[in-house]
């Protein structure tokens, strides 16, 4: 197996390993930090937006990836802190679905966007999801340490994925990234349907 194929397999396995679950605040038994860390991994909407932004930033090169990485982290942290004091923001499923659907569509299209545009997208996504995150986990007893854990998880996923994608050669590996983006966008479109359906 070539190094690229091996890395792809590991990324795919990571996705499979975390996909069947979704919880507001996971209790790992290792403390609040790891509860927050695991929360991102088991919240599909959060995981999808982080993956989509990471893939898109990676597509746009290492400069965009560095900007997006730190922009999303800071925005997520700010959103999380605000959300903890503003529980009403918990009911924004339409907005959080739209963010990962749009990010996935940009990956599928391999859209050309300036580094600042990628960072702006990361900020919007980070703020929105952080806000909802803070609002949903704070009433469940999440501490700032849990938020730090979530931020660390986002850092790990974004840094690893965007670095991998930025380093990918042209051809099939980059096509696979676009296909992954189209899957995320398609899941988002269907989710929009569930949210907007009459009587839904």
């Amino acid at each position: 197996m070539t190094p690229i194929a091996r890395r792809g397999t590991i990324v795919a396995l990571s996705g499979l390993a975390v996909s069947p679950v979704h919880a507001h605040l996971v209790e790992t038994g290792f403390g609040a930090f790891y509860d927050g860390f695991a929360h991102v991994a088991v919240t599909p909407a959060d995981l999808l937006v982080v993956v989509a932004i990471a893939l898109f930033a990676g597509q746009r090169g290492s400069g965009a990836a560095r900007l997006a990485l730190f922009a999303m982290l800071i925005a997520w942290l700010a959103g999380g802190l605000v959300g903890a004091w503003w529980p009403e923001s918990a009911a924004w499923p339409l907005s959080t679905t739209l963010t990962f659907a749009v990010a996935g569509a940009l990956v599928a299209l391999n859209a050309t966007l300036r580094d600042t545009g990628v960072a702006l997208l990361a900020v919007v996504a980070g703020l929105l999801h952080g806000l909802v995150n803070g609002a949903t986990t704070a009433p469940a007893g999440a501490t700032p340490l849990a938020l730090a854990g979530a931020i660390t998880a986002i850092f790990c996923v974004t840094a690893i994925l965007s670095a991998e994608v930025a380093a990918l050669p042209a051809g099939w590996p980059r096509v696979a990234v676009r296909v992954a983006g189209s899957w995320i966008a398609a899941a988002g479109l269907l989710m929009l349907g569930w949210l907007l359906r009459p009587g839904g």
Binding site: P20, A23, T28, V42, E164, A166, A167, S182, G193, W194
Partner: protein, 204 residues
């Protein structure tokens, strides 16, 4: 290709990713919620449990392999998006008449294109595929069982459909060799025949 990016060499990333995998999987399975898992698994299994959908998706992958680049990757990128649009229409209550007939015709058309090794311009191939994707999404994208996660169902449904395309593309690799080329064409003919059966069943 292997230059360090964001200060981490790609070979080190594999180790980090493995460590992350160990952390996330342990936490995830420890907190499994059956409703959520059921959503993903139902979405994943639904496309492979409907034979007309399976055959049409595999035929799409085969056709992509026959057409070669760039169609081989344009079609699998475009199809899930348009299929989801069909699902969205269905969920919003916008009717698409003759969805079952459309799915059967998609198997006939895609199978026939593989059999005849049809090579239309890329825009026309994409338009044909997008047209049929609406029917597949409308008919299958909204069959969510009660009490399961809609997002994970949708994700599973899209991933399974994409994997069926991949199966078709992988089988289509045989098209490079003369014996394989005949086998791929025969497979296309088989899908078209099955499509005729589905059409008869949909109309009868």
């Amino acid at each position: 290709m292997n230059a360090p990016v964001i200060g981490i060499a790609p070979r080190h990333l594999v180790g980090i990713l493995l460590a992350l995998l160990a952390l996330t999987s342990a936490a995830a399975w420890a907190q499994e919620e059956t409703g959520q898992a059921a959503g993903f698994l139902t979405g994943l299994s639904h496309p492979v449990s409907v034979l007309d959908h399976v055959l049409a998706m595999v035929a799409l992958g085969l056709w992509g392999a026959v057409l070669g680049p760039p169609a081989i990757w344009v079609l699998p990128v475009a199809f899930p998006l348009v299929m989801a649009l069909g699902g969205l229409l269905g969920l919003l209550g916008i009717p698409v008449p003759g969805a079952e007939v459309g799915i059967a015709v998609s198997a006939i058309a895609l199978g026939a294109k593989v059999l005849l090794e049809a090579r239309p311009p890329l825009w026309l191939a994409a338009a044909i595929v997008a047209f049929f994707a609406i029917f597949h999404g409308h008919a299958h994208g909204r069959e969510l069982p009660e009490g399961t996660s809609a997002l994970l169902y949708s994700l599973g449904f899209v991933v399974a459909t994409g994997l069926l395309h991949a199966v078709g593309i992988l089988l289509g690799v045989a098209h490079r060799w003369s014996a394989g080329r005949q086998a791929v064409r025969i497979a296309g003919g088989g899908v078209a025949c099955a499509g005729l059966f589905f059409l008869w069943r949909a109309i009868a």
